[in-house]
Symmetry: C2
Subunit: 150 residues, 2 copies
DNA sequence: ATTAAAAAGTTTCCATGGATACTAAAGATT
DNA sequence: AATCTTTAGTATCCATGGAAACTTTTTAAT
């Protein structure tokens, strides 16, 4: 049984779906003056609470230059605070402001509504299995990228 | 049983995976002077054989302005030919050149290798089910976007 | 037939994000 | 201690892609 010939079709669909979601996500976040990638950085900061800028690069596997710009933007928008680390003057601590937490809540509300609406058409029983599959894919791909980096 | 609370997690993972694949896809296609989106347009044209530019917009659900630019680029690279439609002078027919077909073959080879390597870490037995899930998601999301458009 | 509306593409503007080179601080090496 | 290397982050360059305004052709309405 050689199912590996399905690989390009699966990857193709993941790419297509990812693109659709990203574009739709951008539209939905428009009122907040954020796009989907910026939101994902922001979300991660709030989730972790206090995090080094460097760690964000590893967590999300984005370019550090990109993260730098997003951080600047979030700071300007007063959604996060950036403080110099004591021990290492090169590195920064990122954490949420109150305004940031409030904004996140509003974003999440709209985001979740959207997500539920879009997945509402899928049989609920399938969702846990889907999640399992995606979790596995995510961790495998992350691994591959990290190994490629070295 | 309310599994719909999984929705944001599933969408989040799809976004994350999509991003990783897109960035990696861009890197892999670099030698061909194409990025992942341009490739997907190109691939669709070759797959269909002869297609109206307008239909490409519907098939891939991209902005027509974007498609216009990609088409121009592909034409400049001599991968496709663009001919004015006889009946309707506003619309164009897109089709592959020989160079285009050769280039696509080379791309696909590298692309498929990459795909197989990345999915090689997944249990083969799961792939058909994954594909089924993704196909369903893809069609549901496409529907949602189209309805939103109207 | 004339005017109005829609449709197919293009152009232009601008924020975005990847790549590269750079700065400054920290760690390693001699 | 002085020099070399690595590391965290920034600045700069440039192709990309979304949004909106625009052109031209086609279709609809009066």
């Amino acid at each position: 049984m050689d199912n590996l010939h399905l690989a390009p079709i699966i990857i193709g669909k993941l790419l297509n779906i990812g693109g659709m979601l990203q574009r739709q996500g951008n539209k939905i976040l428009l009122p907040f003056d954020l796009n989907q990638q910026q939101f994902s950085v922001f979300f991660e900061i709030v989730k972790v609470g206090k995090v080094k800028q460097k760690d964000m690069v590893n967590r999300l596997l984005l370019e550090k230059a990109h993260v730098s710009k997003v951080v600047k933007k979030l700071q300007k928008m007063e959604l996060i605070t950036v403080t110099v680390s004591g021990e290492d003057k090169r590195s920064y601590w990122l954490s949420t402001t109150q305004k940031g937490e409030q904004t996140l809540k509003k974003c999440m509300k709209i985001f979740e509504e959207w997500n539920k609406e879009w997945l509402g058409a899928i049989d609920e029983k399938q969702l846990p299995l889907m999640l399992e599959n995606l979790t596995q894919l995510q961790s495998v791909f992350k691994d591959k990228i990290k190994k490629n980096d070295i």
